[in-house]
């Protein structure tokens, strides 16, 4: 299969607890994306824009994509907000790829945004739960940490060695995040810190959970056959896949496998026409440490339970056979909901161009991003290549 679209520019704000408001965050990421295009993109030629955001806190839920056009300096451009909870970013990239493919609209802008730390504690906890099943899971007293706690409890019951792997996910991703100047947490954690941390939703402790972060990321996409007009080193999008599952995990036959991920991965690999083994590194959705293990299995890199050995053997470390989350993942880099999927593509853009600095994976040729909405109700998988 040929390339479908190409990324010619990418931008990313710092992730973390930031003073900047949502408009400033958008402006920062978008301006950096435009500035990153080697031979430039004329803003007047941009044909369409997509904004991935949940609308956390309620600052601007309706019509927020119009804010993107304002802050990007794209007056009059058609804009659409794309919302699939934590998978909004991946879903927006998929929408942008389709827009690029379907008609020659000119460069397409994709931005992901979430401002999460400017609301009261009570409101924050409300917004953290809005993307799960309310009538049964919330009413039983679960937030997302609780839902993933249930999933982790089942995984550990089936694979008792799994606790060590959960800890390793946290240690590894913090180690990677320590090398990422845009990460929320840029510090290492010790194994014993992870194991002794306060339990949030047993068996998950504080260091098993991603933080609540502000941030934005942006991409500029063009048709693959026009990419060299903008840069000598475009990053190609070769396959996109998406899937869905029941909103509530209680309605799924299996607790520890995400059907949405598996379906999305099958589509993406089929579209790209490449084998799983050809992927140099992965950016997976590790909102909780257990989610990284599930991702490795659902994406087809390990059989059920096999992610434990894959992780504890060091295979997923930055210098391992198949690095996972070299940017620190959601765990250390942070998880501004709508920005996350776009941020994963930003990391791929840097890595495949050899521009990731101290956290550079050696000579990657192909990469995969995996973005999950909630506890697996929606998912996106995207495959990229360079050169």
């Amino acid at each position: 299969m040929g390339h479908r679209a190409a990324i010619v520019g990418a931008g990313h704000t710092r992730f973390g607890v930031l003073d900047a408001g949502p408009r400033a965050l958008l402006r920062g990421a978008v301006d950096e994306a435009f500035a990153s295009v080697d031979r430039g993109v004329d803003r007047a030629r941009v044909g369409e824009a997509f904004l991935a955001t949940l609308g956390f806190g309620g600052w601007q839920i309706g019509n927020s994509a119009a804010v993107l056009a304002e802050e990007a300096g794209l007056p009059g451009v058609p804009v659409t907000r794309v919302e699939n909870a934590c998978a909004s970013g991946g879903s927006a990239i998929r929408a942008a790829v389709r827009a690029v493919q379907e008609r020659d609209v000119g460069p397409v802008l994709v931005a992901g945004l979430e401002k999460m730390t400017d609301v009261t504690n009570a409101r924050r906890r409300y917004w953290l739960g809005v993307s799960g099943d309310t009538e049964w899971e919330r009413l039983a007293g679960l937030t997302f940490a609780g839902v993933y706690g249930l999933i982790a409890s089942r995984y550990l019951a089936d694979h008792p060695a799994g606790r060590e792997a959960l800890t390793e996910v946290a240690v590894k991703n913090h180690e990677n995040g320590a090398l990422n100047p845009k990460a929320h947490f840029q510090k290492r954690v010790r194994k014993e810190d992870v194991e002794r941390a306060t339990r949030v939703a047993d068996p998950l402790g504080l260091y098993d959970c991603c933080p609540v972060s502000d941030g934005a990321a942006a991409l500029l996409l063009v048709p693959a056959d026009r990419a060299k007009e903008y840069t000598d080193t475009p990053v190609y999008i070769d396959g996109v896949g998406a899937g869905s599952d029941s909103l509530a995990v209680q309605e799924r036959p299996e607790l520890t496998r995400f059907g949405a991920t598996r379906w999305a991965a099958d589509q993406a690999f089929h579209a790209a026409g490449v084998p799983r083994d050809s992927i140099s590194f992965l950016e997976v959705h590790d909102c909780f440490t257990i989610a990284e293990l599930l991702a490795l299995e659902d994406l087809g890199y390990a059989p059920p339970g096999g992610a434990v050995a894959m992780t504890t053997s060091g295979e997923t470390r930055r210098d391992g056979r198949r690095p996972v989350n070299p940017d620190g993942g959601l765990k250390a880099k942070g998880h501004p909901i709508g920005a996350t999927g776009v941020s994963q593509a930003y990391e791929v853009f840097l890595q495949l161009r050899g521009a990731a600095g101290p956290r550079q994976v050696p000579h990657p040729e192909r990469a995969l991003t995996h973005n999950v909405g909630g506890a697996g109700a929606t998912a996106n998988v995207t495959i990229y290549s360079v050169g």
């Binding site: 739960g129 009538e135 039983a140 019951a157 949030v200 939703a201 509530a248 209680q250």
Partner: protein, 332 residues
């Protein structure tokens, strides 16, 4: 005197230390009454509801609406006022039935030292010969006897500490004052965040599944699903979808978490402040049919693989009312 009845069941909650109900208690007069009624008719599915319901004792006013909902039927309710001779009057009312069946429910929230919270449910059938059980100053079977001093003929049931009906979970976390303040309101909107907000209409729509685990069975492919939906999860058929009662006891825990402080939706903040971390389990009621339930017991008393029973309990206060649903307890 001798009183004839079909059968009786009792439910009692042992008194807490110092004879104070725990501040985090999720029991009230309504949940006690519902549990006694469940014991009266423990079948799956339950038999037909009674033709009349006679209530006496420490029941919140909302129970007169909620108990018919519990039966899923517009069963008429008669509330017998408390005071001297209340139980005698309730028994007389129940026995005066000329047709059908009458369930009498008496609830006593323990008041004196060592007194348990207790509820007794008794079913009377018109025109039936006594089945040999005789109520003579007490209920015949031993469990009911020990649980039910309130049913001794002539016991007085008065509105003693009615603030318990609604006051235990007030948002300031303070203990409810003793005394006759019946109307202590819950916060009108509940905690501000409404992290687990379910509109009242949606709550009422789901009561049969929430209170009695009524699922559905697809007439086209036979798949059983929970909760009921308008479309079969398996084959997509929209009709015929029949109500399918699922077992209330004996399900198996397939996953379990314990929610630590700060990990709960804000509706449960007061509960955590008063009672500490709580467990949540995913319970398989029958193969492939699962429900998410909070644990109404020490979370350490339940593990993955255990079988559990379930009880109707308070879930949380919302918009000035208690919302009720089932919770898991260890299987006896």
């Amino acid at each position: 005197m001798a009183l004839e009845f079909d059968r009786a069941a009792a439910y009692r909650v042992p008194p807490a230390a110092g004879n104070r109900r725990p501040a985090a208690s999720d029991e009230d007069g309504f949940t006690l009454a519902a549990t006694a009624l469940e014991r009266l008719d423990p079948g799956v599915p339950p038999g037909p509801p009674p033709d009349r319901l006679v209530l006496v004792g420490d029941l919140p006013p909302s129970a007169e609406v909620d108990l018919p909902r519990f039966f899923g039927s517009a069963v008429p309710v008669e509330r017998v006022p408390g005071g001297r001779g209340a139980v005698r009057r309730a028994l007389a009312t129940a026995r005066s039935t000329s047709r059908g069946t009458v369930d009498l429910v008496a609830v006593d929230l323990g008041n004196g030292p060592g007194e348990p919270d207790a509820a007794v449910a008794v079913r009377f059938s018109a025109g039936q010969e006594p089945d040999g059980s005789v109520l003579d100053g007490s209920i015949a079977d031993e469990e009911s006897l020990s649980a039910a001093p309130l049913l001794r003929v002539g016991a007085d049931l008065g509105p003693r500490h009615p603030s318990r009906w609604l006051g235990d979970f007030r948002s300031d976390g303070a203990s409810p004052p003793p005394g006759p303040d019946v109307s202590t309101p819950l916060p009108a909107e509940g905690p501000v965040s409404q992290g687990a907000y379910v509109p009242k209409a949606r709550y009422l729509e789901n009561l049969p599944s929430r209170w009695r685990f009524v699922g559905q069975r697809c007439g086209a492919c036979g798949t059983v699903g929970f909760p009921p939906r308008g479309r079969c999860r398996s084959c997509g058929a929209t009709s015929p979808l029949e109500p399918f009662p699922l077992p209330l006891e004996g399900g198996t825990v397939v996953a379990m978490t314990t929610i630590g402080p700060g990990g709960q939706p804000t509706e449960f903040d007061d509960q955590v402040a008063a009672g500490g971390p709580y467990g949540v389990v995913l319970v398989e009621l029958m193969p492939g049919v699962r429900v998410t339930l909070q644990v109404a017991a020490d979370p350490r008393s339940i593990r993955i693989g255990d079988r559990v029973a379930t009880r109707l309990r308070r879930l949380y206060p919302m918009e000035g009312e208690w919302r009720y649903g089932r919770k898991a307890v260890p299987f006896a």
